[in-house]
């Protein structure tokens, strides 16, 4: 990624981060949703686009993070803001044995395995009557009021938290890719067998990324359901909300590109604002768009922009080589 691109990218990100500070409650709420979605998309891009770990079961950790946070608050009277990071941490710990299990499945079967895991979590929480069973539970009002009595203040705080997560996730990916660790990841993305033959411990890298992304996803899930105040098995472990939409965002924006999730989120929220009233047609359109992009432009809008920009500033030799495009 060129320096100019990085600057433009940082500027857009900061603008998105600053916008809701100026607005009213509904703008803050939209900003919060945007930031949480961008976080999940960035994490999925790291997982599938860079580490080659194609999970379609990340909703497992969104719901788990939410439920663990609710359980900590309800059963131990823990302050919400302490329960939040603990829930994320617990998701990372649970991902260690869970990952061991699903990584026994290779390639495309791994993807369905992660889906089974998410279903196990959903059906499990639906059976726990202390957590409301199939109909779910609410956060006690006192624990919400303990954060702040003013709803605008709470929304601002949650929004700031979500924006920090989104910026943090992007910064993490950016720094990770410049590290030795990231070099291994990029090598896996470009040619997995070659990376392995050059001494990259592919399985170890994949597992570490899976666990780290699970913890981060769990934290994001806990924040999403803190703002919702209610959680249920179907909402927490929804494959449509936390996986289908996220995959569409990353594919449309550009998978394996650091700016892909942001571009995808902008397209997604615009698309949703324009067409959400059309019900099922809206998801048919989104799915069809993602399929078309995967077939015709596998690097998404980000890849298309890159090609157009590269053509304008085309220089022979090193500048356009693969090395320059590695980021």
């Amino acid at each position: 990624m060129s320096r100019n691109f990085a600057l433009a990218y940082a500027a857009i990100l900061l603008a998105c981060a600053a916008l809701p500070l100026l607005g009213d409650n509904s703008t803050r709420q939209l900003g919060l949703e945007f930031a949480a979605t961008l976080t999940l998309a960035t994490l999925w891009n790291l997982l599938a686009g860079y580490a080659g770990v194609v999970s379609i079961g990340q909703q497992a950790y969104v719901g788990l993070g939410g439920y663990l946070m609710f359980a900590l608050v309800v059963f131990t009277d823990m302050p919400v803001l302490l329960a939040l990071p603990l829930a994320g941490l617990a998701c990372g710990l649970i991902a260690i044995p869970a990952g061991r299990l699903v990584f026994r499945l290779r390639g495309p079967h791994f993807a369905i395995g992660t889906w089974v895991l998410a279903e196990v979590f959903r059906l499990f929480f639906a059976q726990i009557s202390a957590l409301g069973g199939g109909s779910g539970m609410s956060l006690p009002i006192m624990s919400i009021l303990a954060i702040s009595h003013s709803r605008p203040d709470r929304l601002l705080l949650f929004y700031a938290f979500a924006a920090t997560l989104a910026l943090g996730a992007n910064l993490l990916v950016f720094l990770l890719l410049r590290s030795r660790f990231g070099l291994g990841l990029t090598a896996i993305r470009d040619a997995e067998p070659a990376a392995a033959s050059l001494g990259v411990d592919v399985m170890w890298l994949k597992r570490i990324v899976y666990i780290g992304v699970a913890a981060f996803t769990g934290l994001t899930g806990a924040l999403i359901f803190l703002q919702n105040v209610r959680i249920s098995p179907d909402a927490g472990f929804s494959v449509n909300d936390w996986t289908a939409n996220i995959i569409f965002i990353v594919v449309i924006g550009g998978i394996g590109r650091i700016e892909g999730p942001l571009i995808g989120c902008l397209v997604f929220f615009g698309f949703r604002a324009a067409f959400a009233d059309f019900g099922p047609w809206y998801l048919i359109g989104l799915g069809a768009l993602a399929i078309l992009i995967m077939l015709l432009q596998p690097k998404g809008i980000a890849g298309l922009l890159h090609r157009l920009l590269a053509r304008r500033t085309a220089r022979p030799g090193f500048a356009n080589s693969k090395i320059n495009r590695a980021l």
């Binding site: 299990l101 026994r104 390639g107 895991l117 196990v120 059906l123 998978i255 099922p280 048919i284 995967m294």
Partner: protein, 289 residues
């Protein structure tokens, strides 16, 4: 004692459905290394197509099979030639993401056309008829017939793959899709044939399932997961193992349902994960070679 025997027998019988769900999935993976995440949704699509025919022409769902099986095969061939062939390559990502997108598109198309209601194909007394083996142990004739059909489909597929020229071409393409082109065989056409076969079985599975259990536009993924679990429990690439894997899954679900109706599906998933932990290559792994 007899009640537990009854539960296990009922579970075994359900295995026929799961084997039928799994056969197409297994065939496509075997030939193209492609996992079709929309497989369960295509099964449901076939069931809804049968429902539309039944409502329109007031005919028996089983008669619809004459139309639905070739239609599904044609759909499979076209899908493979027009879309899926473009996604094949070293990368596992494109076929997964394209078929996942298809899954969402089909679910919402069905939601739009048929509403979210649960449906069932009218088969009358056919699905409730049973024979008594022992006092207290009844076997439903319909699931028994489905189990026999599943075994017949797998047997026919084995004969086709191992004893016909086209079957040999499919196996050769599965081994090396590049070299086969040097032999004058179009691998894209062979892939189309394999998917057409897989979809024909999915059409059969959809109609048979639709007469036995409720289905809705959202029930596709569950069929996919059950079929997938039958494959992994049985051992990859072993179609007879898949049939046994489906039975193991059915028994686990039946035992779970007996303890608490809410545990039925969960017990099946947990049995799958336990087997994955204990025997990652499945209970009946194919011999090397």
């Amino acid at each position: 004692m007899i009640s537990w025997l009854d539960i296990i027998v009922q579970g075994f019988l359900v295995g026929g459905f799961y084997a039928l769900f799994a056969t197409g999935l297994s065939l496509m993976f075997g030939v193209m290394r492609l996992v079709n995440l929309a497989h369960g949704d295509f099964i449901v699509l076939a069931a809804f197509a049968a429902l539309a025919l039944v409502q329109q022409f007031n005919i028996s769902p089983l008669l619809c099979l004459i139309l639905i099986i070739p239609l599904m095969a044609a759909l499979g061939y076209l899908l493979q030639r027009l879309i899926l062939n473009r996604t094949l390559g070293k990368d596992v990502l494109p076929p997964l993401l394209v078929t996942f997108g298809l899954s969402i598109v089909i679910q919402n198309f069905l939601l739009l056309t048929f509403s979210a209601d649960s449906q069932k194909l009218p088969l009358g007394t056919l699905t409730t008829a049973s024979i008594s083996l022992l006092p207290g142990l009844n076997i439903g004739l319909y699931p028994l017939a489905v189990l026999i059909i599943a075994a017949a489909v797998i047997g026919a597929l084995q004969i086709f793959l191992y004893q016909t020229k086209l079957g040999a071409a499919i196996r050769a393409t599965s081994d090396d899709a590049t070299t086969i082109r040097l032999m004058g065989i179009d691998n894209r056409h062979i892939f189309g044939i394999a998917t057409a076969l897989a979809f024909a079985v999915a059409g059969l599975a959809g109609v048979l399932m639709g007469g036995y259990t409720n289905f809705s536009p959202a029930s596709g993924p569950q069929n996919l997961l059950f079929g997938f679990e039958a494959i992994i429990i049985g051992g990859l690439g072993n179609l007879w193992g898949t049939l046994l894997g489906g039975m193991v899954l059915g028994v686990a679900q039946a035992i779970g349902a007996e303890i608490n109706p809410g545990y039925q599906v969960l017990a099946g998933h947990i049995a799958f994960l336990a087997i994955l932990l204990a025997a990652p290559r499945g209970l009946f792994p194919r011999m090397a070679g």
